[in-house]
Each structure stands twice: as structure tokens, then as C-alpha cells.
Subunit: 380 residues, 2 copies
């Protein structure tokens, strides 16, 4: 039966990572549990909500964990309750001992807490993925392309394929991430340093959120493997499994306009444009169609929004660069705010075709590795 | 018609204070508005939710406000929307100009926002309170006695009188604050430095919350006046009105035991006892009656809680001092945690009569200025 002592902080940190995969709203009761597996080599903490699964291994050799294992086995404990108990234990060392009938005695200083556990046999098996030559990707790069695209996914479950980010590896090295909710689109291309087998998958946006909380070291490389409609991201300790969204993602390349079609090219300061849109949003939120109007006429660029009930906004914008024809175009300022938020360069290039065709955004000094697209709203 | 310019930050800070009195859930639509009154002397911002009203005066002479008044009058604006607009204006100076038909033009840099206002005549009149010799009390003292008592008010609207803090001034100088929800009680006595007319009122706990956000300078004195079932706290700029709870507060003095009745006296470290109770609460929350049991036997003091479904806790406590008889008593640990939270001294004295009578808590070096009382739960 399980028996070990461990540094409380190291154990808490490991619990925190595994808990990213454990939801409170799950249909299978076993999935509210944490699975603890102890071998002579160390302790594995497993959690799953059915969509995401995390296996987190704490090696006995880890000096920070101050681990002393004197009994092995597996057990299930109520995850959220167990985490609260561990975090409130009084001393820096925690003793964990399995008693008869799946009871667990936790001791720390003068505090003794007994918890009812369950047989680990009832825990669903996580289907392992093994791939001979997994693709290696830097965590920082992955987070970057996730951040640049995931905000544009659809939140409507009616078309599930659009609730994820489309990830494509082609020619073994060219990674593309793209997301769209049919009103706007964000696409990022990245040439990888390592080779891998081509893939074409759709990763749920929820998995992307917890991915960011699980892999916190941006410097390290992860192994990526695919099988059985699942993706596995793995480093030395953590195996992070996510289900993929089934279905075929539509071809988004055809949405990006041809260079020749653009009639107007503007460059703005990202922060200034974003603040203008935030002010305009205050008013546009109160209007029927929720739009602002951008009117470009000669050297003048004016943003307006008008709500008959609440009031109106009128603001002059400074375009750093303007080439092309005048335009008056209406759109939802929230889409532009979201788009500007993920542009790290100080200046953005916005190009228009007409007031009924989507317009595109690029960081000013970018050509095509990070392109965003926003569809205007037709107004009278 | 109103016309002024003002420093945005000074104006925002003034708005923030007044907004404490403006609720979004009000039955009278005018009470979602902010009333702005401009005279040659300065700007008054008035807000009210029917229970609390704040009049906040910004004098024209305030150098931080950089005010320039060129037109006077009164107008109503949607409070929460107006605050958002002001906070997002681009430059440090804000121009405010009333146009025709109660429209307001705000200008800051290149941003122009027009808002629809309403006639200030529809705003309910705040009944003024004037008292010749108002009582002067230090803000810091008031906050202290509020903090020490307000947590013990009842949250059940069925007995409204218990949802407020009972404030009594007797013999012109002796202030008493007391709150009880019938399971626990907290009472604080304070001898004032200034004289005032005796009073006996019940202040709603919600008013105490916003009071703390409105009066932020603990060093200053406030004038307190009473009339028409209202209390007024006032400094040079801010008049803070609160309705009082009608009815007679029961006599709580008779609840405090006589010295002679105590059979057991214990002294604990406040922080250590609180952490023990927080651990015990993890388990007691899962039990039917939500209690922990404290067993005092000779030199041993043990806290236990036991839930047949979840598990149990068993913890030895160190009593710094023990005199009297042994006891085993059950109570809701949340009450003890709340009580310990407001004790600023490092040690607390707890005295028991029997396992069915309320026990009392005092900061160890206190005799009777701050006493708390907790009723035990009878268990089998």
C-alpha cells in the first residue's frame, strides 16, 4: 500500500498542473478524481475531464520534492478536496499513507486528516500514443501561434469545427495555425527548425487555454505525437493529451485577397488605434448593429458611432501612411480591438478592397506570416 | 448652460466616490443617473440608490482639479456609462459642454463624444440634515468598530433589524457597536474624545461597506448628524447619507455571561487557532451539522471533525494558558474563523461555561471593550 513523504510545496505545484485537466462538470464521476500512482521511481498524478488528460510524473530523484517512498500502489481521491487539504496542511513536510479500505491518512505536524479514497481500477484508461519520431516544437513558439489565433474561434457550438484552431504541418516544416468564426479570421505561418510528419488537425480552443497553464517554461521543446483523434504534447515529466475536433476544416487560403485587389493601404499606431476603437465601442454597443464607421477622405481619417438613444462619438485618427482611394466602411470595433491586441509590433498595416469586402491587417513589417481578416457590416 | 474644463484624473476620482451610492438595480430609473451641478464655486456630483446618497463637492479652488468653469447649471447623465466614457478619454484635460436639448459634448484631444442627458428636475430631492453640534468621530475609529462587528450581522431579510450594526452613544461619549445573527455576537465599546448627543440607531451593513470606500483618509474627523431616520457622515467635501433600519434592537448586554459563570479559560495563538479551524472546516463542511468538536482534557486540546462520506480530521492544539474544568464542545468553525479574523492582538482568550452555553472571545489583554460570543451546537 502507498506510503510516502514529500515536500508540501513541490507536491502542491504538481497537483496544480494535473488539476488543469480535472473539471467539476464531468459526466463520468470518476473524472472528478485524481489518480495517484506510486512506484519506486516516483509519483504519477493523473487527471482527465474526458477531453484533456494529464499525466504528471514526479521522479523520486527530484531533490526539491524531498521524496521518501516506502510503499507503492494506486488510489483515487476527490481532486478538488484533496488539493484544498494539501494546501492547508501546517508543516512543510507531508506524510501520505494508505490504510485499509482505501482510506488515506495525511499527516503534517500535529494535524492528521483521513480521507476516503477509491479503487484506482475504476479510473478510465488513457489511451497511450506512441510515435517513433515525434515532432519537436518550442513551447514559446506554440503559445505564440495559439495566442495569435485562438481569440478568433467561434464560440457557437452549432458548427463545432470552428470552435478550434486549425493546425497544419505541410512539407514537414511549415506550420500553419488558423482560426475563424466566419466574421473574422486570423492566420499565422511558422517555419519550424525540426522536421516532422505532415498533419492536419483541429485543436479545441479549451485545450489551448489549459495548455498555456500546464507548460510554463517557454524555453523547452515538446514532443508532439498524433493518433486516434488525439494529440499528445510531452516533455520529460508531463504528458498532455487532448482530443481533436473531428471533421474537415474549410480551405481558408482562398479567403485571403490578392495583392492586386487592394484599393487602400493605411498604417496606424497599434495602441492609438486600439484606444480609439475602445472609445467607439462604448457607443457602438448601444447601437442596433453594433458598428463604427471609418471614413477615409483625403488626409482625414474619422471614426464615428452614433446611437439615437445614448449619443455619438466622433474622433479624428492619424494615419501614419495612406496610399490609395477613399473609403467609408462599417464594422464591429470589437473585432478590430481583438486583432490589434495580438499584434506585438508598434504599427499595423490595414488594407481595404471595398466597403463590402473583408479588410486585412498585418504587422507593418510583416508580409504574410501573420495575417488577419475582418468582414465589414453593410449599413445604409 | 454648463461649461467647464477639468483634469481627467481628478474628475475620475470624484466620480468613483459618488458612484458608490449609485446602484444598477434600483426601482426608480432616475437613480441610475449621476447628477452634476455646476456653480461658480465648483462642481457637485450627486448619486443615490435610495438607501445611500452621496453629495461630493469639487471646489473650483482645488489646484489638482485644474478646473475652469465658464457656464453653470444642473444635468443628469447615465452614471455608469458616463464613468466609462470619462475613463477612456485620450488626453489629461476634459472639456464638458452642455448643448441644446440636454445634450452634453465631451471633448478630449481629437475625441468628441456627445451624450444624451436629462433634466435634473426629475432627480429625487435628498432631504438635508442639519444639526447644530454634530458629533465628531475619527474615520479610522469608525472603520475599526465597523470591521469588528459588521461580519456578525444576519444576512436573512426575515428579521431586518439584525441585518444592521447597532450603534449607541450614551453618556455623550460612550460609543457601542454591536452585531448579532443570533448564532454569534460581536460587541465593541469605545470612549470618544468629543461630546455628542446620545443616539441609538441601526446602520445597514451595506452602508458600512460603501462607507469604507468613500472615506479613505483614516486620519480625518467626520461630523455625524441624525434626523428623519437617516444618518449623515460629512467632511469638507463629501456628505454621505444612509437610511437607518427602523425598529428596536434587542438588549444584547444580557447575553454576555457573568465572570463567575465561566468554568474554563483558554488562551491561544490567534493565527494558529485560525489555521486549525480552517483545516477542520474542510471536513466539517461535508458533515450534516457542519460542526467541529473541541475536546479539552487535562493538558490536551484536540479538534476533531468527522464526515462519514469524506473522512476526518484530528488535530492537537497548543493552549498557551489553561485554567478550569475540562469540556467537549461542538460549534461551527466558520464562526470562530470570522471572530479570529478581526482580532488584531496575537493572542485570544476563550472562556467557556458549559457545552450548551455560548462561549466568549476577547483579545488576551482586553477586559471588555471588544467581546465576541459564539453559540455551540448540541450534538449527540
Amino acid at each position: 500500500m502507498i506510503k510516502f513523504s514529500i515536500n508540501k510545496v513541490a507536491f502542491q505545484n504538481a497537483l496544480k498542473i494535473t488539476k488543469q485537466a480535472i473539471g467539476s462538470k464531468v459526466t463520468i464521476p470518476a473524472l472528478t478524481k485524481l489518480k495517484i500512482t506510486v512506484t519506486a521511481e516516483g509519483i504519477t498524478l493523473t487527471g482527465s475531464n474526458g477531453q484533456i488528460s494529464i499525466e504528471n510524473f514526479l521522479p523520486a530523484s527530484d531533490k526539491d520534492a524531498g521524496m521518501n517512498i516506502s510503499g507503492t500502489g494506486s488510489i483515487l481521491l476527490e481532486a478538488s478536496f484533496f488539493e484544498s487539504v494539501v494546501s492547508q496542511m501546517p508543516e512543510l513536510t507531508l506524510e501520505f499513507e494508505e490504510l485499509e479500505q482505501k482510506q488515506v491518512l495525511l499527516t503534517s505536524g500535529k494535524s492528521e486528516i483521513t480521507l476516503k479514497g477509491q479503487d484506482a481500477e475504476i479510473y478510465p484508461r488513457i489511451q497511450e500514443i506512441s510515435q517513433e519520431n515525434p515532432l519537436k516544437i518550442n513551447v514559446g513558439f506554440l503559445k505564440e501561434i495559439f495566442t495569435e489565433t485562438v481569440f478568433a474561434v467561434s464560440t457557437q457550438e452549432s458548427r463545432p469545427i470552428f470552435t478550434g484552431v486549425h493546425l497544419v504541418l505541410s512539407d514537414k516544416k511549415n506550420l500553419k495555425a488558423v482560426a475563424t468564426d466566419s466574421h473574422r479570421m486570423s492566420q499565422r505561418l511558422l517555419a519550424l527548425e525540426n522536421d516532422g510528419s505532415d498533419f492536419d488537425v483541429v485543436l479545441p480552443s479549451k485545450s489551448i487555454q489549459s495548455f498555456k497553464n500546464v507548460f510554463t517554461n517557454d524555453e523547452e521543446d515538446l514532443d508532439i505525437s498524433l493518433a486516434n483523434n488525439q494529440i499528445l504534447f510531452r516533455n520529460e515529466r508531463i504528458s498532455y493529451y487532448s482530443r481533436l475536433i473531428e471533421g474537415t476544416y474549410p480551405d481558408t487560403n482562398r479567403l485571403i485577397p490578392n495583392e492586386a485587389d487592394y484599393s487602400l493601404n493605411l498604417v496606424f499606431d497599434v495602441a492609438a488605434l486600439r484606444r480609439t476603437m475602445e472609445r467607439a465601442r462604448l457607443l457602438s454597443n448601444a447601437t442596433a448593429n453594433g458598428t463604427v464607421k471609418l471614413t477615409v477622405s483625403g488626409d482625414s481619417v474619422i471614426t464615428t458611432a452614433n446611437s439615437p438613444e445614448v449619443g455619438s462619438v466622433h474622433e479624428e485618427l492619424t494615419a501614419i501612411e495612406k496610399t490609395g482611394e477613399d473609403i467609408a466602411i462599417s464594422f464591429n470595433p470589437q473585432y478590430l480591438i481583438d486583432a490589434l491586441r495580438v499584434i506585438k509590433e508598434p504599427e499595423v498595416r490595414i488594407r481595404f478592397i471595398s466597403n463590402v469586402r473583408p479588410f486585412t491587417l498585418l504587422p507593418k513589417n510583416d508580409t504574410d506570416s501573420f495575417v488577419q481578416l475582418i468582414t465589414p457590416v453593410r449599413t445604409n
